[in-house]
Amino acid sequence: MTLHRIRGGPRLSVDNDRCERFGTCEWEAPGLFELGRDGRLRYRRRVSDEDAERAAAAARCCPMQAIVVRGVPG
């Protein structure tokens, strides 16, 4: 059994001190991230293994490098 299963799958977090709410993450991973009409960023804290790749894409593309993905399989 791999570590991420023990922890319950990949997890997302966003560093609020860094995030400037450009919304690039929503373009990369709609459904995982959403920039609300109020300008706030909402995101799923736990994602499925299938969504981990999109979560990593959002983290890679974040202009502020504010997204942390933990427990990615593989």
């Binding site: 450009f22 919304g23 920039l35 300008g39 983290a59 890679r60 490098q65 593989g74």
Partner: protein, 410 residues
Amino acid sequence: MSDGDRIVIAGAGVAGLRAAERLRELGFDGELVLIGDEPRRPYHRPSVSKQLITGAARPVDMTLKSYTELDARWRLGTRATHLDTTQHVVHLPGGEELWYDGLVVATGVVPRHLPGSPRHDPRVRVLRTAEDAAAVRRALAASNKAAVVIGGGLIGCEFAASMRQMGRDVTLVGHARAPLYRFGPRIAASVTELHRQHRAGLAMNTAVRHWISTKETFGLHLTNNQLVVASCVVLAIGSVPAVDWLRGSGLTLDDGVLCEPTLFATGAEDVVVAGDVARWPNLRFDDEPRRVEHWLNAVESGRAAAENLLAGRGQARPFTPLPRAWSSLYEVRLQTIGLPALAEDTVRLADGVTGFVRAGELVGACGWDRPKAMLYWTAELDRRLPAPATTPAPARWSGPEARPAVGTAP
């Protein structure tokens, strides 16, 4: 490429890092060598004109993460000196030769020099690396006089905003009518007003006539007869592709490395190019080769170049991104999509969103602090300018003897 087990990546910026990451994701299990002229691992270069200048972050805070195990050999502080595509060898200082089966060229750009500027003076700097940011901070600390930035593009504007955030006086000197003028008159007017509100000085429509260097300060005598006194001067007048090491290599050098639509370099079978240095035709727009100096393009082209290198020239897919870029100026988020530079005309698409039009067709958009609207317009531009239909999914690496891919190992 179809066999061999060493891929060399020349350039350890974000494009080189993302190429390396994608090679491993796709199961390449051979040797991976990254050559970088800077002494540190890839870091978030956009922070140079912002957090690293203001001191809000240290370079180590800006190190880029990899989302897969790279298992790479790093040759940092090392500049590739020559490429021989017939022998498949990258030359390094001291006569070292590094053979490759596949090469990714990702050496980026170097800041443009301003003729007549005293670059040997430590108070005159370009702004490209973490070392540049540290040097500017040292010059700022040595004097309480104003800073001057020459160049009204994004870096110049970001530097001016960073100075004001630090409480330093700053003057931006530019030859254009207004800062960011290439984004059209609406954006230029907004950014001019924004600098005024934050009391950053603007000296536009002008250039430096004389540099007057004294022990304490610089005096810049401008062509409009204004005299500006500065503690340090930052040159932010664009950049040129870092291709010196490729002269005589057989690659076509013409404002960067000329590439096929797939990012394969013309003139070689096993060389792909990524990031700012690649000049390739983006078939989403037309078949004219262009360079795109945006950070997100470096991420995307690094990955695409890696995919195509593994697929081989015959199976490679055209790289057809919808370019995206961003900047923060003071509290305003500026975003562009598409290729605004192609436009003959601009149009107001929505509140704070300017459209860029070529031959009646939307080719780009720019948002003034409108990230939500820009998501809509990104989707809209993606719909209006579809990528030409393409073909197979990225090939997985099937090494010299079709070894099992490393990504499938337990």
